[in-house]
């Protein structure tokens, strides 16, 4: 089968009525195949222009009966129906918190292999490249499957415009909720922050941040950069930041185009979570800190001297 006549469904993620940048990158990963952008719930009409610009041949607005937002299993059942309806050869999504959960559920239902958190994908060969051993190796995996399922690590494939027709389609699913799990509440974070996993730029504070309130210095810089703020394990363990901000082993895996580590020593476990970032900048007072041997650009200096200047010069 060549890529040209294969059908790919892309699960599009939306935020505040807009298509997430990371979803556009996932469409680019499927370039060359016939692309169906799948949108669960409202928002397809508003997303049409953007999706067509980035390669959607078809845009499918999927509606379902029942409370889809309260049941991840029902969501997966609905997506399975769409996969069967359009007979996709491949279905791709983002390896976000939501995407990883959705794909694992739907892969279990249709009993097909799933390659999670890929940095490269080849639809024609059904192969994908992903991290093994916490970023120390890349594995190329080949799957034998009727439907090739992959989630793509956010920001690992840069979105490229590829104008297509963007034909609007409607699909009404009639799926049953197995009734096993129910989301009863969603607690929003104190102040809405950019999602770390999907942020294009991240600025992280390590142990040298010294106190929780000093993260405001990084927040100010992040605002100028359009960045999310992360923390190292040392900073989380010291109580300076919540675990939701932790980058690295036992925290989040991120792959932004720019990663700025402020006062992070650079343990192997930290690199496990950010090694595939495109550009890594380190700012650290200790010129012998391990992070300087594994970054792209380094500034030796006190973060409390350097970061405010950086914020000003941006």
């Amino acid at each position: 089968m060549t890529q040209a006549n294969s059908k790919t469904g892309i699960l599009i993620e939306m935020e505040n009525g807009l298509v997430k940048e990371t979803s556009l990158g996932v469409m680019t990963a499927a370039a060359g195949s016939e692309i169906y952008a799948l949108i669960l719930g409202n928002g397809a009409a508003g997303a049409k222009e953007k999706l067509a610009e980035y390669g959607a041949d078809h845009i499918v607005s999927i509606t379902a009966s029942g409370d889809v937002s309260a049941s991840p299993d029902l969501q997966a059942e609905v997506l399975v129906q769409a996969i069967k309806e359009y007979q996709f050869d491949t279905v791709l999504g983002t390896a976000s918190t939501t995407g990883k959960d959705q794909f694992a559920r739907l892969a279990s239902i249709i009993d097909e292999p799933l390659v999670s958190d890929c940095v490269k994908v080849n639809i024609a060969d059904k192969t994908a490249v992903k991290s093994h051993f916490s970023g120390k190796t890349f594995a190329t995996l080949k799957v034998t499957a009727a439907v090739f399922l992959c989630t793509i690590r956010p920001n690992s494939i840069e979105a490229a415009a590829a104008p297509a027709a963007g034909e609007m389609l409607d699909f009404a699913a009639d799926a049953k909720d197995p009734g096993l799990v129910k989301i009863v509440e969603t607690k929003q974070a104190g102040d809405a922050k950019l999602d770390l996993t999907e942020a294009p730029i991240i600025i992280t504070g390590g142990r040298a941040i010294k106190a929780a309130e000093n993260y405001s210095m990084l927040d100010a810089c992040a605002d100028k950069l359009g960045a999310a703020v992360g923390a190292s394990r040392a900073a989380v363990d010291a109580g300076y930041a919540p675990h939701t901000m932790q980058v690295g082993q036992t925290g989040k895996t991120v792959s932004p185009r720019l990663y700025i580590a402020c006062g992070v020593s650079g343990a192997v476990q930290h690199f496990a979570g950010m090694k595939t970032s495109r550009v890594i900048v380190a700012i650290n007072e200790d010129k012998d800190a391990p992070i300087f041997s594994k970054c792209d650009y380094g500034i030796v200096g006190d973060i409390f001297d350097v970061v405010p200047v950086l914020t000003k010069k941006l």
């Binding site: 694992a104 890349f138 799990v181 989301i183 607690k187 082993q249 200096g301 950086l310």
Partner: protein
């Protein structure tokens, strides 16, 4: 209450992985540990049993050397263990889930099942979902808070951007544990000694009717990720360094 905890024997996260051949790695001298996320599952299970009574059964699919990891889990308080042995270095998630289910069927059903949110070797993040599907049970992954109330479990998981979902499900259920759920204990010497005498059953993967050749995911290539080296260290006053950095990020790297 009977709780299964699925524990994977994985290379130490601090260890260097040496690729051997096209698709394997040298594991002879490599230090192995319990998958870090699974430890949160072990701790949670042991705490539940300490409160409510019952037993914690460790279930591992791995090479015979995984016994060391299992003994560590027993030293944390698990009562007994089942090791499904295979010589496969990186068994795929689907076969692993099938092996776990078959071992559970043989041992008798559990009231709860814990796994880690994922394993740090293959990073596939799906075995718990496949296991839950095969057992017809509820599954919630990346759980950082858990409460058991009667025959109901209430779990919290992060849903992106720091927001948290509160999810209810009936028991039995499958919980994928992550950091925040608890602080795993360090076993004391007497517990380590006691663990050596606890029951450990071994079953071959093929004795459970599972054929590795049926795997639908094949590793075609495994290669080290090149390490960065020779970072460009900026020089001059703080102001000069920052100006040069911003210029590089804008003009050379085009990331700003």
């Amino acid at each position: 209450m009977k709780i299964f905890v699925c524990v994977k024997h994985v290379p130490d996260t601090a260890a260097t992985i040496k690729v051997a051949g096209a698709v394997g790695f040298e594991d002879g001298d490599l230090k192995f540990i319990a998958n870090p996320y699974d430890e949160y599952g072990i701790e949670e299970a042991v705490r539940l049993i300490e409160k409510q009574g019952g037993e914690v059964v460790i279930l591992t699919v791995g090479k015979p050397e995984a016994v060391s990891t299992i003994r560590g889990a027993m030293a944390m308080g698990a009562d007994r263990a089942i090791l499904v042995t295979t010589n496969c270095q990186l068994l795929d998630s689907d076969l692993t889930a099938k092996a776990l289910k078959a071992a559970m069927d043989k041992d008798g059903p559990g009231d709860m099942i814990f796994t880690g949110k994922g394993s740090v070797d293959t990073e596939s993040f799906q075995t718990q979902y496949r296991l839950a599907k095969a057992l017809g049970l509820a599954v919630v992954n990346e759980v950082s808070t858990l409460a058991i109330e009667g025959d109901k479990a209430i779990a919290q998981r992060e849903s992106g951007g720091g927001a948290k979902q509160v999810i209810e499900m009936g028991l039995p259920c499958v919980i994928g544990a992550t950091k925040g759920l608890n602080e795993p204990r360090y076993p004391k010497f007497p517990d380590i000694m006691k663990a050596k005498k606890k029951e450990l059953k071994e079953i071959g993967l093929s004795d459970l009717g599972i054929d590795v050749a049926q795997g639908r995911v094949t590793i075609e290539n495994l290669e080290p990720v090149p390490e960065r080296s020779g970072a460009k260290m900026l020089e001059g006053s703080v102001g000069d360094q920052v100006i040069e950095l911003v210029r590089i990020l804008k003009e050379d790297e085009k990331v700003l």
